[in-house]
């Protein structure tokens, strides 16, 4: 076990875990931030997407020891009151079905828009291709990303 000081959603947290513990399980089991979801554990589905220093990463495959003092943002910390443009667009398009994949989709979409404020259809598809939605809400996700892009610009 080892002590790690993590900056999560703007707050410092101390956890005592094995160094190879994926950030996903630190968040879910130790910091009680369960908005980040477990889907595959092998970087294939995107359910566990968080931002580390603003970049979308798969937290299931990111050992806590690699984080250092970089800033982690999870779905719970994306905005104060679900008022990030992406979250608002998600509600406007009534995107979720079961909803399980959506935190990961939202985090990935928000990271995309932070580097490309006006992505084309193709750019959206390729940036989002690591995020599976088993319920098949892809068309709504794409529409919501476009709405968010237009609101943000």
């Amino acid at each position: 076990m080892a002590i790690f000081n993590l900056n999560v959603n703007g707050k410092q947290n101390q956890v005592d875990v094995e160094p190879d513990t994926p950030v996903l399980w630190v968040l879910r089991d130790h910091l009680n931030l369960v908005g980040t979801k477990f889907g595959c554990g092998v970087s294939q589905c995107g359910s566990c997407t968080v931002h580390i220093n603003g970049v979308a990463v798969r937290s299931c495959a990111t050992p806590v020891s690699m984080v250092g003092n970089q800033k982690i943002v999870t779905i719970e910390g994306l905005s104060r009151n679900a008022n990030h443009a992406v979250q608002e667009a998600w509600l406007e398009h009534d995107v979720p079905q079961c909803g399980y994949c959506q935190a990961g989709q939202i985090m990935n979409a928000a990271a995309l828009l932070s580097v490309n404020s006006n992505p084309s259809d193709e750019e959206i598809e390729s940036a989002m291709s690591g995020n599976i939605c088993r319920c098949g809400t892809y068309i709504r996700i794409k529409a919501a990303i476009k709405t968010a892009a237009s609101k943000m610009s």
Binding site: W25, I75, D94, V95, Q97, Y100, C101, Y138, I139
Partner: protein, 729 residues
């Protein structure tokens, strides 16, 4: 206005009481829709969800509608309360929807109607709203000393027009709670609906986008241990011995045990190939995951291992064998084939599929000597309770089950083995536990959509009329053919047969059971027959419907040919069928299941040598659409799901072991492969609502195959299509 007798369902209205702190509470029987129907599923009994719900009207007029019905993404938590609110005549913005558990003191188990009772559910939800409204009006009438018939309601307020008086529901709700339940109530006219038919946002939408703890895996309790299982690596194997010394010495590990999870009193929902399991228990998920990898387990063969080649051969062999009894026979099919000018014969097949709900199986259980407390994602809580009662030896009254939101169901969470496992583990370890499946555990556990094969034969006379039709299907644990479905009823000489292959691999209902294979096969075949007959594929299908409308063959046809033809005509018109666009390849399909009718036109383009679905037009007749935007979302989801599985997904076996165990080897459809656009059209006919979560999936597989044929010149007979070189380009 319709008058209905409440005593039709009187038993359900057992409970009217004053809420603590004032207000009125009305318990009513809550039926469900949008679940796989019992008729469609082998070995699932008629009675389905049999749960209660409440309407609570607070003194301030806020209405709480309890939704005890598990939400798997089919939107019932929004759309079913909408139906209640409509008849109650309240403003939707004053309605709060709450999820309830199976067995608080207030929620007692009652028997609901049959699983085909979407209409009954529709009625009982409306009746619940109407009954509460009527009682509130009676309370106001008492207050004002006028007759109830002089009163009207609007948006949660009762009016007495002639005296210009009005009063809010909240103000009379406590009085209403003391009244008898009326014997008869009025239902609104469909044309007066104000909530039903208007899109309402998902009531959990904001919780979902904020990442709130809504799902089973998000549940936590103090002192809870994490449990993970190790099941045999292959079907046909069982536990021989295990060495857990390393695991037990690892940090955070509490114990490693074995459990037996088969209830003595087995029900259909206890489908499970692996009943003896090794369980690792520990303080955190990662520690348990790591320890699980160090287990040294010896497994031994119990039954013979099967491989996909064995299934292929067994299904193909049986396809050539006449069953003892046909599912249906009209006229003289063999005679028709003998005198036919042309005979077309084609065989279609599809692989096993896993459900792959995005949230892997999991359940929380805390079992003590006296009681069991379970929390988690389950589609059939009352069946789970029975199984848990049987295996723990606790009376059902001492078992409580709280349903969480589910990260997908697709039929998988009808089978509650994971809930039983959690309970048995908790009982043995004497602590609260959360059982968590890894994706690998989940995908290799079984309960799959079985592999199928079906052979179609069509006989045409020399004027290209369809004079004979023969369909024979084979499947693992049950054949896929629905004997009385289209084109039964449209052809004089007809034969439908099923054959079954037994297997040690467990199978279960998967979104639109059997239809999820049959529709694609049938609609591809009819397309090919139409081509041989030199007819437009839509005209050919319509010709058959004309026959079923004017002079149907047989009496058991399970569809309404007018509604069926109706969706086909609608999609023909909306898609501009018949117009050719360079580089765009079209396919059409129509299917009926879950009492709903769907027709689709699908356009494919070739993009860098690969096919891409450009657009799908989808016409749906599911009666009244309660929540249109959510309904469109369901339809779109079914289409994407259908395209994805027809195109990419497959689960294969080698020596009893699944060859895919995560999303790197098991391919699911992703963003770049999804259709670029889907447009949905609902038939407006005021008929009571029918199934919506499933019917758009089956036909799309046919529309896709037919469009791919146009694009590539090759007919596709074997799913998944993308494994065939031709489609990959």
């Amino acid at each position: 206005m319709t008058l209905i007798k409440t005593n039709y369902n009187r038993r359900s209205f057992l409970k009217v009481s004053a809420a603590t702190g004032g207000g009125m509470v009305l318990g009513f029987n809550w039926l469900t829709s949008c679940t796989p129907s019992g008729q469609e599923m082998l070995s699932i009994p008629d009675s389905w969800f049999d749960i209660n719900a409440f309407i609570k009207i607070g003194e301030n007029g806020v209405v709480t509608i309890m939704s005890p019905n598990p939400e798997i993404g089919q939107n019932v938590k929004t759309s079913m309360p909408m139906i209640v609110a409509e008849e109650l005549d309240v403003d939707w913005k004053n309605v709060i929807v709450e999820q309830a558990g199976l067995d608080t003191d207030n929620f007692r188990r009652q028997l609901a109607g049959g699983s085909q009772s979407i209409r009954q559910g529709w009625q009982s939800l409306r009746m619940a709203g109407a009954t509460a409204r009527r009682m509130l009006m009676e309370a106001a009438a008492k207050e004002w000393n006028v007759s109830t018939s002089e009163l009207t309601t609007e948006n949660g307020t009762i009016y007495h027009k002639s005296s210009n008086k009005s009063i809010g529901y909240g103000e009379v709700s406590t009085i209403a709670a003391g009244l008898d339940v009326p014997e008869e109530v009025e239902l609104k006219d469909v044309k007066d609906f104000k909530i039903i038919g208007k899109s309402k946002k998902n009531v959990d939408g904001s919780g979902i986008v904020k990442g709130e703890p809504l799902f089973g895996l998000d549940y936590k309790r103090d002192g809870m241990l994490i449990a993970m299982i190790e099941h045999p690596p292959a079907f046909g194997m069982k536990l021989k011995s295990m060495d857990a010394r390393v695991a037990k010495s690892m940090p955070g590990i509490v114990d490693v045990i074995t459990v037996q999870t088969e209830p003595e009193d087995k029900q259909w929902s206890d489908t499970n190939a692996f009943t003896t399991l090794v369980v690792v228990l520990g303080n955190s998920t990662w520690e348990v995951m790591k320890a699980k990898k160090t287990l040294k387990i010896e497994w031994e063969w119990d039954t013979r291992p099967e491989s996909s080649d064995d299934h292929e051969q067994a299904l193909a062999k049986l396809l050539e064998k006449k069953p003892d009894e046909p599912g249906r026979k009209d006229g003289d099919p063999e005679g028709a084939f003998r005198k036919a000018a042309k005979v077309i014969e084609k065989t279609y097949s599809a692989p096993f599929l896993a459900h792959n709900t995005m949230e892997p199986m999991n359940f929380f259980a805390h079992v003590t000597a006296e009681k069991a407390d379970l929390v988690g994602p389950i589609q059939t809580p009352q069946y789970l309770r029975k199984s848990v009662s049987s295996i723990l030896g606790l009376p059902e009254e001492n078992i409580s089950i709280m349903m969480t939101r589910m990260g997908g169901g697709f039929g998988r969470r009808l089978y509650g083995n994971f809930g039983v496992e959690a309970a048995v583990i908790s009982q043995k370890i004497k602590a609260p536990v959360q059982l968590v499946y890894t994706r690998e555990d989940d995908m290799t556990q079984g309960t799959y959509r079985p592999a199928y094969k079906v052979k179609y034969r069509a006989a045409l006379d020399d004027e290209n009329n369809l004079i004979g039709f023969h369909v024979r299907g084979t499947g693992i644990h049950g054949g896929p053919v629905f004997a009385n479905r289209y084109p039964a009823g449209t052809v004089d000489n007809y034969l439908a047969e099923n054959q079954t292959v037994e297997s040690n691999i467990s199978t279960g209902a998967w979104r639109a059971p059997r239809s999820n294979f049959m529709a694609g096969a049938e609609q591809s075949f009819l397309d090919e027959v139409a081509e041989v007959a030199g007819k437009d594929p839509i005209d050919f299908r319509l010709e058959l419907f004309d026959r079923a409308i004017n002079d149907p063959v047989g009496e058991k046809n399970d569809y309404d040919p007018k509604r069926y033809a109706g969706v086909l005509k609608l999609v023909k018109e909306k898609s501009g069928w018949g117009e050719e666009t360079q580089g765009v390849y079209r396919g059409v399909s129509a299917y009926y299941c879950h009492n709903s009718y769907v027709a689709q036109v699908l356009d494919v383009i070739m993009d860098k040598g690969k096919p891409r679905v450009k657009k799908v037009w989808c016409a749906v007749d599911c009666g009244i659409v309660v929540n249109p935007e959510a309904a469109r979302n369901q339809i779109e989801g079914g289409i994407v799901d259908g395209i994805g599985h027809a195109m990419f997904s497959s689960l294969t076996f080698k020596d009893g072991a699944p060859e895919q165990n995560n999303f790197d080897s098991y391919k699911l459809i992703r963003h770049p492969e999804a259709p670029m656009e889907i447009e949905t059209f609902f038939v407006e006919n005021g008929i009571d609502p029918t199934g919506l979560g499933e019917p758009s999936l089956p036909p799309i597989m046919g529309a896709l195959a037919n469009a791919l044929y146009k694009a590539t010149g090759e007919r596709l007979y074997k799913q998944p299509f993308a494994q065939q070189d031709i489609v990959l380009g």
